[in-house]
Subunit: 249 residues, 2 copies
DNA sequence: CGGGGCTTTGATGTTCATCAATGTCTGTGG
DNA sequence: CCACAGACATTGATGAACATCAAAGCCCCG
């Protein structure tokens, strides 16, 4: 069996971080950059399908996604799974566990991923020395809250057709922003869609088929190709975000 | 028509804040207390049923609930409503709007409420001067995220019976912690329950009737009386929180 | 006494879950 | 090269869960 996670001692310095070049992200000041550089302890490479973090664990680390993507989820005792959100480049992973001690959800990789590793014990010194960064972290937590509010609205009150449309547009938009998908293709299974939206796999499949018959999308070899994003957005009542640059660590 | 909101210039100084006495909350240090006292600009009294904050607004304030309770919700264009969480004494309200500019949800009072009013323009100076308090705010945001993750699991993957059981135990536990309900009674309508759980009012009613027939609860004059919290918790797969003291502002 | 908010109930139909089977593709070992 | 298993997608049949519609009851308040 091959290793599913591999830690390396800071192979990529923050000065060369590819995220800093991306339009959506707020770039760093000199001394902030230098501090984050020291705050970062290394890189973690994770294989597709591997578990990054597990519910109930007391992990001494905190991460920023550098490349690839995954999802956060929770389980009921009998195995029912709810995907709670997706994590993409620039997203902070494990903050909740850092603050509250124990992870309340798990994270699994949907593709090969790499993550920056931070020491959660040093988080408070960041708060003391760089209030701007502390503010950024709260901003990031707040953005997560917004997304969760939206998901609740979707899962609770939208129809299956609206749900699928919403989810795919939501993911595609985020993926584009963080530089993941440039051809409108998303590599996830219908089971992931079902577990995000709170509907069964079979019903998900039939709902996707309805959207495909309208030529809004096409499902092909383990992924989804969005053909008409506007139509899906219209169906879902989805509106694009503000376009303001956002912080990251 | 009577006024639904009334602002008074700091009628209650933080030194006498009733929340500081409660077991669940972490108490303040001297200079922190003094700073928060200056950060607080006044008190807001809100009538039952009134809107505290409205989606889309740019509110210059940030609040902490002092007494009473309410709920956060979002609407779809056609009027479908999703209640996203409840707010109770000690909870921070409006943080998301403070950080991201525009409120992404509304808040309505379920009872007479009073709130501490803070100036969001001064939030960053709090981050600069009191990193401990900044850390606390992030902690609070993170706790909200946890609750939302749980709600998603409930709305997405639990059955109607489990949903109702979960919600009522969840609310009762929080209410007890923040000193709202001491006799196991919750003053909310079945419409609120329905809009929280993503099910219809009629089905909610019939599900509540099932729980009532098992003597787990009783619905009486516009409220719910929980008779057997353990049975509901068991049904819902609910487990009590850690019991660690939590911060507030 | 009438009206409005909330709850309750029954009837009916749709959405969705569940079950079961089949198809396709991919990788693996003989 | 073929046989095989495993992951994922697809399809049809059936029933349960849930939504919707409609009406009636209760209670408080003006």
């Amino acid at each position: 069996m091959t290793k599913e996670q591999e830690f390396t001692h800071k192979s990529l310095p923050c000065q060369q971080c590819p995220l800093r070049k991306r339009e959506v992200f707020r770039d760093f000041e000199g001394d902030e950059l230098e501090f984050v550089g020291r705050f970062k302890k290394g890189d973690l490479a994770v294989k597709k399908g591997a578990t990054v973090l597990v519910e109930g664990a007391h992990n001494p680390h905190l991460y920023t996604v550098l490349s690839g993507w995954g999802f956060r989820y929770k389980l009921l005792e009998d195995g029912r799974r709810q995907i709670v959100n997706y994590v993409m480049p620039g997203d902070l992973v494990g903050l909740q566990g850092s603050l509250m001690g124990e992870m309340k959800h798990s994270v699994e990789a949907l593709s090969q991923m790499s993550l920056c590793v931070f020491e959660k014990a040093e988080l408070f010194s960041l708060y003391k020395k760089f209030p701007e960064l502390a503010y950024d972290i709260t901003w990031i937590a707040s953005r997560e809250e917004c997304m969760l509010d939206d998901h609740l609205l979707t899962v609770g009150r939208r129809t299956a057709l609206e749900k699928v449309a919403y989810l795919l547009v939501f993911i595609l938009d985020r993926a584009r922003q963080s530089g993941l998908s440039r051809n409108g293709t998303l590599a996830l299974t219908q089971q992931h869609v079902a577990d995000t939206l709170g509907i069964s796999l079979v019903h998900t499949n039939k709902t996707i088929a309805r959207l495909a018959s309208r030529n809004h999308l096409k499902w092909e070899d383990g992924g989804c190709k969005i053909l008409n994003q506007e139509a899906l957005a219209e169906l879902a009542g989805w509106t694009p975000g503000s376009g303001v640059k956002r912080p990251f660590l």
